[in-house]
């Protein structure tokens, strides 16, 4: 089994009417990594996630989760993978412990192991002292932790995290990052979608950048950055006319540029040597630079 990747998509197409949400997508997620699907809203990340849980069915192509082909073996796939949705769908009518217990039953955890699974879930969610609190009364961060614990209740080999920190405070986001890092180091494969660049850079061993329903580039974040935008970026601020001049000069020298607001970023800036227009701040390139260069669009 271990030679089988956690996720394999081959030439997958999913349309909603005239919109092609997933457009001949190829994606392979190896086991044991934290893999990030990166892209702006509407890139097809959520649809890809739904294809993997059987909640969307591909129009064509091949979808496989932990060796189980979907949609046919979707039930088998769902019993060895866990889902942490973007939309909070906790059961507001139940308590924290009941939320976990119902999922333990839906996952058919044997009766003898159920209590232990719920206890473990409460620990993962760090909600042991709130076991009997109605889920509806939890704060945003607590709810997200409970969603994660619920997705892990049955000891899945793969966890799908759809925009795990969207809409959360920076402090809570940091907490969740450490939880996600722990999940990954416990040997569980993590596939997360995000439009937060920093999140992907910090957590992911590998990323795939999605744009218009396809993967436009993939690899370990550092490799991807070096390969696509070099090792250094020069950021120059100025008036629109000055920026236009810099763009012209850089492009003439065979360098790519990225305009954002009041600055121009010159990519592959390590290749510059002392041109007099090249005055500004030097910084490390990011996945965002990669994204913009590859798609011609800003992230958000």
């Amino acid at each position: 089994m271990s030679s089988v990747p956690a996720v394999r998509l081959r030439d997958v197409v999913k349309r909603f009417g005239a919109l092609t949400a997933v457009d001949h997508l190829d994606l392979e997620v190896p086991r044991g990594v934290c893999f990030g699907l990166l892209g702006p809203n509407g890139a097809g990340k959520s649809t890809t996630m739904r294809l993997l849980t059987g909640q969307a069915v591909a129009d064509s192509g091949h979808v496989e989760v932990l060796g189980h082909e979907l949609p046919g073996a979707s039930r088998e796939a769902r019993s060895v993978s866990g889902v942490v949705p973007q939309v909070d769908n906790l059961d507001a009518e139940l308590t924290v412990a009941e939320n976990l217990e119902v999922f333990a039953r839906l996952q058919r955890i044997p009766r003898a192991e159920r209590d232990a699974a719920v206890r473990r879930g409460l620990e993962v969610a760090r909600l042991v002292d709130r076991a009997d609190t109605p889920a509806a009364a939890l704060s945003g961060g607590m709810r997200r932790r409970l969603l994660i614990a619920r997705g892990l209740i049955h000891g899945p080999q793969l966890v799908l995290l759809d925009e795990p920190t969207v809409g959360l405070d920076p402090q809570i986001r940091q907490q969740l990052w450490s939880t996600i890092a722990e999940i990954r180091s416990s040997g569980v494969t993590v596939l997360m979608s995000t439009h937060y660049i920093e999140e992907a850079e910090r957590l992911c061993d590998e990323v795939a950048i999605m744009h218009a329903g396809r993967v436009v580039a993939s690899g370990p974040p550092r490799d991807l950055i070096t390969r696509s935008v070099g090792r250094e970026v020069l950021e120059v601020a100025g008036t629109p006319t000055a920026l236009a001049d810099i763009e012209a000069a850089a492009n003439a020298g065979g360098l790519r540029t990225r305009r954002s607001g009041t600055t121009v970023a010159v990519l592959d800036a390590e290749r510059l040597d002392g041109q007099d227009w090249a005055q500004g701040d030097r910084r490390a390139p990011t996945l965002e630079d990669v994204f913009v260069v590859l798609t011609g669009e800003e992230m958000a």
Binding site: R78, E98, Q107, I109
Partner: protein
């Protein structure tokens, strides 16, 4: 904190897993334990209102219907109406809010749960809950002096049996709802005729032929006939089995249609 978990998932996967249906019912039971009072209270007050209004109001005008006093005839009709309301509306309202507003089904379907099990579990639960409503109504009827035979013990079973299909019917309509405005259409075009043209407050015999035929296709008619048989004595084996068969077909059809429509609404 350790997130590693060691439990072993079950290896066999049947197409339809009763344990999952049980888990769905269990979920409803956990909620019901906290809200049972409002259900019980509603199911006491509603029949009292009907008994006083129709029983005494109409009962003064009509002495006997189909060999029963009007009060007895109407009392069993009221049980059936309780079954209709308490099964169809939760099926409809929960079906809509849990899909469109609470996203509860999205969460449940991420676990190895099929739409067929989901609809079966919720419909079975509504059937069980409706049995409570029917029994409470029976006690109210008893308090109003309605005489009952030993067959009355079958009433909960009839309630579960009819409630399942009515709840699934609600779920099927819920799957087609795009907003709450659609509920008005369902109440006007489905619930009202089902409620009235069923032999609940008056027998079908007196209706125009076409309305009588519509009534005989109404599952609530078969429910109310079975209830009358259970409470006051069955009239014949063949006739009783015909009602059971009609309700069986209704349950199966309602479940199949609901599963199809709910699946279409939930799975892209």
């Amino acid at each position: 904190m350790s997130v590693a978990v060691t439990s072993t998932p079950p290896v066999t996967h049947r197409r339809f897993e009763p344990a999952i249906v049980g888990a769905i019912v269990y979920r409803e039971w956990r909620v019901f334990r906290r809200v049972w009072f409002s259900t019980a209270f509603g199911s006491i007050v509603e029949p009292i209102v009907f008994f006083i209004g129709f029983g005494f109001g109409f009962g003064a005008l009509i002495s006997e219907v189909a060999g029963l006093s009007y009060f007895e005839f109407m009392a069993t009709g009221t049980i059936a109406i309780g079954i209709l309301f308490s099964a169809l509306f939760p099926g409809l309202i929960n079906g809509y809010t849990r899909r469109a507003e609470k996203h509860l089904y999205d969460g449940q379907l991420a676990a190895p749960v099929s739409v067929a099990e989901l609809v079966a579990g919720e419909s079975l639960w509504n059937g069980l809950r409706v049995a409570v409503v029917a029994v409470v109504t029976l006690f109210v009827a008893l308090a109003f002096g309605v005489r009952m035979g030993p067959g009355v013990v079958l009433v909960p079973a009839i309630a579960v049996f009819t409630g399942f299909g009515l709840s699934a019917t609600g779920a099927a309509f819920a799957a087609k709802l795009r907003s709450w405005h659609g509920v008005d259409i369902i109440i006007g075009a489905v619930v009202a005729p089902m409620l009235v043209v069923a032999g609940t407050f008056f027998p079908l015999d007196g209706l125009p032929r076409w309305a009588e035929l519509v009534g005989r296709a109404n599952p609530l008619y078969h429910c109310v006939e079975l209830l009358r048989g259970a409470v006051f004595g069955f009239t014949g084996f063949g006739q009783t089995m015909l009602h059971v068969a009609a309700l069986s077909v209704f349950n199966l059809l309602a479940w199949l249609v609901a599963v199809r429509l709910v699946r279409r609404a939930l799975i892209d």
